[in-house]
């Protein structure tokens, strides 16, 4: 039986975090439960951060260097399955899970050798719809609706805890290989970029104001499908065929 130790660990991705203290708190609770892959998207106060280091109880000194990106999409390039944490409901057709269900799902994916990532929004506004659209799954926390004040560090703590619980139970299984290897985020992005380009050239987005929403809908559909690499190639082939000429 292969060891789970060598499986890729979940990335914790903080999108536009504001307070260094909260980044430090996130690092600390990650290390408490054995997670060490922290990525930041445009932290408000820059990086590195003294207040983050001070509040991490030493975690930032012993974990691998935190990576910083300008955009969420860049940080997700090597990921197969993405989870977005949101407090309020979104009008998107995605699988909605609580922390426990999500952790079990992540443990399953890890045991198949797949790379997962969890997106956490900034303290004030949470994730944008564009960020949520990058994810296959939505995680909501079952907090008291009359007092829902979970902060960023606490949200990360609950997921880190649940993942630690779930991965200590899971036994690795083997990944279906060959044709059904799951697509990476960058291959998916290539496909979505192709749709954007070909549709733009053909005036599909008649009203430019509507383009972001329509592209987000297309991304949501394609993300939800959990495409394999082979299927992604098939879709590229379909686009090429459709933009070609009729054969007489």
């Amino acid at each position: 039986m292969p060891s789970l130790k060598n499986m890729p660990k979940t990335s914790i991705i903080l999108v536009n975090p504001q307070m260094g203290e909260n980044i430090g708190a996130a690092a600390r609770v990650m290390m408490n439960f054995g997670l060490d892959d922290l990525k930041l998207i445009s932290p408000r106060d820059g990086w590195p951060s003294e207040s983050a280091t001070a509040n991490s109880a030493g975690a930032l000194d012993i974990m691998p260097p935190v990576e910083v990106f300008d955009t969420t999409a860049e940080a997700l390039k090597d990921c197969h399955t993405i989870y977005a944490t949101t407090a309020r409901p979104r009008d998107m057709r995605k699988t909605v899970m609580d922390a426990h269900q999500a952790a079990n799902d992540i443990a399953d994916k890890q045991s198949q050798g797949l790379k997962t990532a969890i997106l956490f929004g900034g303290e004030r506004a949470g994730l944008t719809n564009e960020d949520v659209a990058l994810a296959e799954n939505i995680i909501t926390y079952p907090v008291n609706p009359e007092f829902a004040s979970l902060n960023l560090g606490q949200s990360v703590l609950l997921m880190a805890y649940e993942i630690s619980q779930a991965t200590s139970k899971t036994t690795p299984i083997t990944l279906p290989d060959g044709d059904s290897a799951p697509v990476t985020q960058s291959e998916l992005d290539d496909l979505i970029g192709r749709f954007d380009q070909e549709l733009s050239e053909r005036n599909f987005f008649r009203n430019p104001d509507m383009k972001p929403t329509m592209m987000r809908n297309i991304r949501n559909m394609l993300t939800r499908t959990n495409l394999s690499e082979q299927e992604t190639r098939t879709l590229q082939g379909i686009i090429s065929a459709l933009i070609g000429n009729k054969v007489k």
Copy 2:
């Protein structure tokens, strides 16, 4: 089954807590998960505490008054079953549970109308052996042994979370309706038929033997996506756009 709403809730008992901030943090995470019975044993800096109030995000203003006792035994007088949280192993013959098991046990006890309490030690030294001796059960957290720095608020958070999980059934998740009404099979068949026709006319299925397999793959992708009616119309529009001419 009687409603759990009227059952006595678990008491959270902080024994010799030092920092007001941590008491406030405990109150906050308790309220997040529907617990509101907080008791303190000889808090170092007295009670009430401004820093506790400031750090509770309003929880201390809306929960019933916190009770303060001189000794742990006094605070436990009305309790039936007691749990002591400890980081290090104790040389005592007690039932040892993790947070998840303890929460299930507490939910069982509550459903029998029994009053439970959980003891948390102070920041520096944890519970004394005398305090642990008052408890039937020991709760340990499965933290990373190489980085075990869970603070008081975080320890209370994990128990409050697990108890909330154990005492509530997961609510079934429904998909949003409206624009996202699911597609009917006949609309889906129309869409798949459209792919078949347009792709056939453009010689996508070069080898006729492969066509059934390729069409099945396309159907699998589209079926798995659980398309809405709106999305199906979008895909029809995409096909129309792609087979059109480029706009100069």
